[in-house]
Symmetry: C2
Subunit: 434 residues, 2 copies
């Protein structure tokens, strides 16, 4: 697998896009030409025969390093799960853990066709190091949680400033900083206002959880007289740089607000089903209101994988099931959520197989069982395949996986395994010492 240098060209030869067979020429990280006639000499040629090309996928809500907690605790009541399992373990997390957890998440996402993700967690400088090494794109936010306490707020402000500065200092155009006000029930209005103002000053994104549960909405109304979107908006947190995750319990006025502000809603159907939120994001209302609608896996504690192909199927099916419509969210639209809409939500130019777009390209095995027969490539991608059909991934023209090989895979699996074991050991030792 050859690293493409800036200015070098790459050619994907004889690949299927829609029902046409085309060549895709990549130069300077962008699609320079696409069509039956595209071609010419190229430094690197990838054989596309036997493959279907799709735009690379954008995962717009996750907590990447939580791969280390995959399967650690399931099937529990939410509060128990958080307070007895997740939080006690997270209290022992180190930057090194987050590095290995994020490496594992990147590996998992690359293998299942994802080129970019929107992350909120801790030790984000270490996450940035992992993303940098793996060659993906990401928007990284420190999870800002002040619990309505002024002292904690000051600490979170410093942590956010430090994280943003560190990520900006990398000067890597693939890696962007964002602010991460966790949610209206964990961040004070003062904290939310600071995040909004800081994101405006720094011209960076906002990544927030919004109206995930009925309880969140009810408590917010009781406490503030406002529903969560209105409260966030009053604090300046709803704008075109905002990605709001979950959005399960929005009403029509909430959707209108998000649409009017040009904000993005990240649908996380698998997590919502696992945590029994009991209502699916109102996709049709958001779309009608003109809000951007994109897709994310959420973290591995509530999913438990990072496969955006699986997430597309869950999204298309949950919308149909909950909103009682066999035609809602058809395959083409869920693919757009997972590609072009996701790229727009994170402020990246990508998610389209068009001349001039960033060369985020995924090849699927045309001869996989999930693509046999191949009446409709988009239907098969959404409803039949999972990420295991992906053979080759390009992110801004850089080859991250070719013919199912990601360089360094064994080392990442070993490192992540060791980090998970050590984390559990440290947590157990701390319990013993108490």
């Amino acid at each position: 697998m050859k690293e493409i240098q800036q200015g070098e060209s790459l050619l994907i030869r004889d690949v299927e896009v829609g029902r046409a067979r085309v060549n895709i020429r990549v130069e300077g990280g962008r699609i320079a030409a696409i069509g039956a006639d595209a071609g010419g000499e190229a430094a690197v040629v990838i054989e596309g025969r036997g493959a279907v090309a799709l735009p690379g996928l954008y995962n717009t809500h996750t907590h990447a390093a939580m791969t280390l907690l995959r399967g650690y605790a399931d099937d529990m009541p939410l509060q128990d799960w958080l307070s007895t399992k997740i939080w006690p373990l997270e209290a022992h997390l180190t930057g090194e853990d987050v590095y290995w957890g994020t490496k594992l998440a990147c590996l998992e996402m690359i293998r299942s066709g994802t080129v970019a993700f929107n992350d909120m967690y801790f030790f984000m400088e270490d996450a940035a190091r992992a993303v940098d090494e793996m060659g993906m794109k990401a928007q990284l936010a420190y999870g800002f949680i002040d619990l309505f306490d002024e002292e904690k707020r000051e600490k979170e402000i410093k942590a956010t400033e430090k994280t943003v500065a560190a990520i900006k200092n990398r000067r890597n155009p693939r890696i962007r900083a964002a602010v991460g006000p966790h949610a209206v029930y964990t961040v004070s209005p003062e904290g939310l206002r600071w995040c909004a103002e800081f994101s405006r000053q720094q011209n960076i994104g906002i990544h927030v959880h919004l109206s995930e549960t009925d309880q969140e909405v009810k408590e917010c109304v009781e406490k503030t007289g406002m529903r969560p979107p209105a409260l966030l908006d009053k604090c300046g947190c709803i704008n075109p740089r905002t990605v709001a995750a979950h959005c399960c319990w929005l009403d029509t006025a909430d959707c209108t607000l998000l649409g009017d502000r040009g904000a993005y809603a990240s649908h996380n159907p698998t997590s919502n089903m696992k945590l029994a939120v009991h209502r699916a994001m109102p996709y049709a209302w958001l779309k009608d209101a003109g809000a951007g609608v994109c897709l994310g896996t959420d973290g591995c504690a509530s999913n438990n994988n990072q496969d955006m192909f699986e997430e597309m199927k869950f999204a298309a099916l949950l919308q149909k099931f909950f909103w009682n419509s066999q035609t809602l969210l058809p395959a083409e639209q869920v693919l757009a959520m997972a590609t072009a809409n996701g790229a727009a939500a994170m402020g990246f130019d990508g998610g389209r197989l068009e001349k001039g777009a960033a060369a985020d390209i995924v090849l699927l095995d045309r001869n996989a069982i999930c693509n046999t027969p191949l009446h409709n490539p988009v239907s098969n991608a959404v409803y039949s395949c999972n990420g295991s059909a992906v053979t080759t991934v390009l992110c801004q023209g850089r080859v991250l996986m070719q013919d199912r090989v990601v360089p360094g895979e064994e080392e990442i699996l070993e490192g992540a395994r060791a980090a998970a074991t050590n984390l559990l050991t440290r947590a157990a030792e701390a319990r013993t010492e108490e």
Copy 2:
């Protein structure tokens, strides 16, 4: 890959079951010993190091040959979908099509860890031929649809008798016949009674669709004064040999009836979500009533794959989401639905990794990303992995896949592709001639 002969022994060495490392000794198609000390000389040795063993999966409701229609039509209103897409194509199906479609389904199921399936379709002698060649177990039913017409009923009776005789004549203990009264809205009470009586005489299973949609229930009550389970029961179709698919719109009395009769309910969450049935099978009520609850993928037109690992995740998550409980249908229980309960539903002895049980054994790659880290093998199998983690499959001691190789895979993909293309061509020609 060596074919194990009757009486020969096989040993899976050093494999993880639960958190223990064991050997599994197979003799005469059964598990002869399992444990750290199990061993001895064996004709065939399979290296289990680096693998997690699970019981083979049982898919208790599908229309296998519909793999040929994968992705042919999606995202349409149900009646349109059936009348303009599915039925016109099915009118041109031949036995050869069903053979290739079933071969493809078997290949897909084997690759994703399924050893047995419960099928209802047409040309079931050809399906039986495919199952026989692939080495799986199956219960095969001709779909009996008389549309309340006496003449049609006589034809369906003859077709059922012929199919059952042909399958019994194979004298293959892996392949069983069943009767397949389609549903209360497509089969007259006289047809249902004949099916019940014939299944009793022949001592074979009953495979039926039950209470899939609200409309089915309402129309049945309007027409007969009875809900579908009561009507089926009155006609003799609810007994311990019955597998009733879907069961979405059961009430508590319906569940009690199924439990009292010792019948089985096959949960088909993916299909139910895609077709927007708007209610999830009442798993808790069925379990409390003592009914058997198992799992199935349904056919590829409404799923669009045959991956029981994916189906387990959909089941565990849909139950939680719809019934508003974070603890409902935990991973261990959904695995039991997909294994031991499914085997019981189809009258096979299997689905358990225990001495004396049929040697239906699936090995998962312990080093797959979905199994990293491995805090909990069952959680990872249900929530994190899909069928692509399966490396090796044994069905009654016979090796159907080893290290991801299924003999004849290329030929099956080619044959199925050609059959699908030819079917579409014949249907298009017929439309032109009209």
